[in-house]
């Protein structure tokens, strides 16, 4: 039987096993919405803005490991989705975004709600497709999921002109697709793996530095096993938190601009650096000239273009981090060479001295609410087991520093693009994907207002997210840089005319709470968590002058941190 393009689209999603599609209707996708209407296998989540839809799908993908799926209409629907697509692209998150397009014969005609979606999205997608024939639709959907989820994952856009969704053809969804031009590498080079193991075993001052690739590649099991067996210190990037248990004694905390003193010092002084699924981002390396001056570097990454991009490495291994780590574990098991325990003891002793600096200390006796204290209390109240999303800025760094993630996929934030407005919609996707877990969004009064409209979506789908608003009435990270580097000239960083967040939450049908005393923090969090089926918006009035420490200033090396 012949089906319309719209029906084929919906059947394809069903056959692909899509659980949720996040989106917003409009003219160019009306046939598709009509086809979605008659079924309940693929549940549509109506956000209040297309940016929210992409972030929600992104949060769903990050927390479940399954691809996030989005549908938006042509023109402004697609352009509104760009920020979310670029966010996913920078963090290698598998998304499949379907954009409506004007009918084929009107393309290029400046038609109503027309935009060149393929052209606009090209620089921020892994790949994109324009469907030009209804006979190609099902296979293109399959290819989009295949490309998005394999190799180094990333967002894929499929642009579908309206007339294609009305035309009819036989439906057949391929079981699998292959593309001659796309063959991601899975297994690492055996010789390189051997060299890496040998180098790793010879280390006197080793350091394991892991990133988002460990999370995306579901490799935290083998990573933890390998690191424990070697008893080497481990640091995670912002994107890699949860890849190695933060409460393990081997964990030195996050590294980089706002990483811990011990992690950055150990990086600077190590003699063998083992980089796993990390990309030597500028926020990690600081001044590249001063980066790890004495280290021989091993680097596993699935993307060859990540290797030796910023920092020349000695032993590159291209492959899935999980596979490569397993292969290394097998070699270690068979190996007879013993580690240099004396050197390692000395190294751990040195690390202990750096640790003793207690770089994350803050004033616990303050009469004002310290933002760090709110995050610590949240950690305590949730037993360290919540899914935490964040927006971007000071609160994001405090969340990363003070919430100890023991499991992968629990820490959901926009690391690469640094997208304010990400946290709340991402939390919606996380909550839908993990309905029985606690989901908290740590945010600030600046970021939260960028996608605040999604509070309405949360009510519609009864998403009991706990919003932790660290409200310091400033764009805190901007203010901090202005204090440090612009002689305290606070240009446009003070947030005037803020809404009453309690009333705002209430007007959206949620629970609002205002907390302005340190003594009330824990009680409020407990009260909020007890409201299991309600969204609670907690507005914490925090110390305006608090800064994120420690910090590597721009141009500094990893051993040049500003401490409190």
């Amino acid at each position: 039987m012949e089906l319309t393009g719209a029906e084929i689209f919906v059947r394809s999603l069903q056959d692909e096993g899509v659980e949720y599609i996040f989106g917003y209707p409009g003219g160019a996708v009306l046939h598709i919405y009509d086809a979605l209407h008659g079924q309940d296998k693929v549940k549509h989540i109506l956000t209040r803005h297309e940016q929210g839809a992409t972030h929600a799908a992104d949060g769903y993908a990050r927390s479940t490991g399954k691809p996030g799926v989005v549908i938006v209409t042509s023109g402004p629907g697609a352009t509104n989705a760009i920020t979310g697509i670029a966010t996913a692209y920078m963090d290698s998150i598998p998304l499949v975004v379907f954009t409506g397009q004007v009918p084929t014969h009107l393309i290029g005609n400046d038609a109503f709600q027309e935009a060149d979606n393929i052209g606009i999205t090209r620089p921020c997608v892994k790949h994109n497709f324009l469907v030009q024939d209804v006979a190609d639709l099902a296979e293109t959907v399959k290819k989009a999921f295949y490309v998005a989820t394999t190799g180094r994952p990333g967002p894929v856009v499929v642009d579908i002109p309206k007339d294609i969704t009305a035309q009819k053809t036989e439906y057949r969804y391929p079981d699998k697709v292959s593309m001659r031009s796309y063959n991601p590498v899975h297994v690492g080079h055996a010789g390189q793996i051997k060299r890496a193991v040998r180098l790793l075993q010879s280390a006197k001052r080793p350091m394991i530095y892991t990133g988002g690739g460990v999370i995306l590649g579901n490799a935290s099991g083998p990573l933890t096993e390998l690191a424990s067996r070697l008893n080497y210190p481990v640091t995670n990037t912002l994107m890699g938190l949860g890849g190695f248990p933060a409460t393990a004694p081997q964990f030195l905390g996050m590294l980089g601009m706002h990483g811990t003193y011990e992690a950055n010092m150990a990086m600077h002084h190590c003699d063998v650096l083992f980089a796993v699924g990390a990309r030597f981002d500028d926020r990690v390396t600081g001044n590249i000239e001063k980066f790890c001056p004495n280290a021989e570097i091993i680097h596993i990454d699935i993307d060859p273009s990540s290797i030796s991009k910023n920092v020349k490495v000695d032993v590159p291994i291209v492959g899935c981090v999980g596979n490569v780590l397993q292969a290394m574990l097998r070699l270690l098991e068979k190996s007879s060479s013993a580690p240099d325990t004396a050197a390692l003891d000395e190294w751990w002793q040195q690390i202990g001295e750096w640790r003793a600096m207690d770089c994350l200390k803050y004033d616990r006796d303050s009469e004002l609410i310290k933002p760090q204290f709110v995050v610590e209390s949240l950690y305590k109240v949730t037993g360290g087991d919540a899914f935490i999303t964040s927006d971007v800025g000071q609160h994001q760094m405090w969340a990363a520093q003070y919430y100890k993630f023991d499991k992968p996929r629990r820490w959901i934030n926009s690391g690469g693009l640094g997208t304010m407005g990400f946290g709340l919609p991402a939390a919606m996707g996380v909550q839908l994907g993990n309905p029985d877990n606690t989901v908290a969004c740590i945010t600030g009064e600046g970021s939260i207002q960028m996608c605040i409209q999604e509070l309405s979506t949360c009510l519609q789908y009864k998403l009991p997210i706990k919003v932790v608003n660290l409200n310091n009435r400033y764009l805190g990270m901007v203010r901090q840089w202005q204090e440090f580097f612009y002689q305290g000239r606070y240009a446009m960083s003070y947030m005037e005319s803020l809404p009453d967040f309690v009333k705002l939450a209430e007007s959206y049908g949620h629970v609002g709470m205002l907390i302005d005393k340190p003594g009330d923090v824990e009680g409020a969090l407990k009260e909020a968590m007890a409201l299991k089926d309600r969204l609670v918006f907690m507005d914490f009035i925090t110390d305006q002058s608090e800064n994120v420490y420690p910090m590597i200033p721009a141009g500094g090396g990893q051993n040049e941190m500003i401490l409190v």
């Binding site: 393929i118 052209g119 090209r122 620089p123 031009s181 993307d303 273009s305």
Partner: protein, 163 residues
Amino acid sequence: MRHIISILMENETGALSRVAGLFSARGYNIESLTVAPTEDPSLSRMTLVTRGTDEIIEQITKQLNKLIDVVKLMDMTEGPHIEREMMLVKVKAEGDGREELKRLSDIFRGRIIDVTDRTYTIELTGAGDKLDAFLLALDPVAIIEVVRSGVSGIARGERALRI
């Protein structure tokens, strides 16, 4: 250093703009770029001339390989290869100068492919520096129009870029 990179890619709309977009987004320079379908109409072959340090060229080839439409590529400059470019030059050819131009064209193994009583159009093929030399040899005032195809290249011997 100057590199000639040959790319086999899916002959699909937008494939060229993916390559051009990559170069502009990452700040790589393109000296010349030619593209046409191959004997297999599903494939296009692109020849791209760029300059950069070894590190930059390594990144360029990795980034190109990462493009989904790119099937295979080869850095011609890594081995012996033949480089050719075609040029069409329209020059003023009047009076005594006509004979002189004919001789010059012969020296460079050019061919006069169109003639009017006041102009010659000369076709010339060779490596880029030969074409440059020919243009330098011409009286600049005489040059009416220059069209260059951009470089194409092929490896010497049995080394070949094919799928």
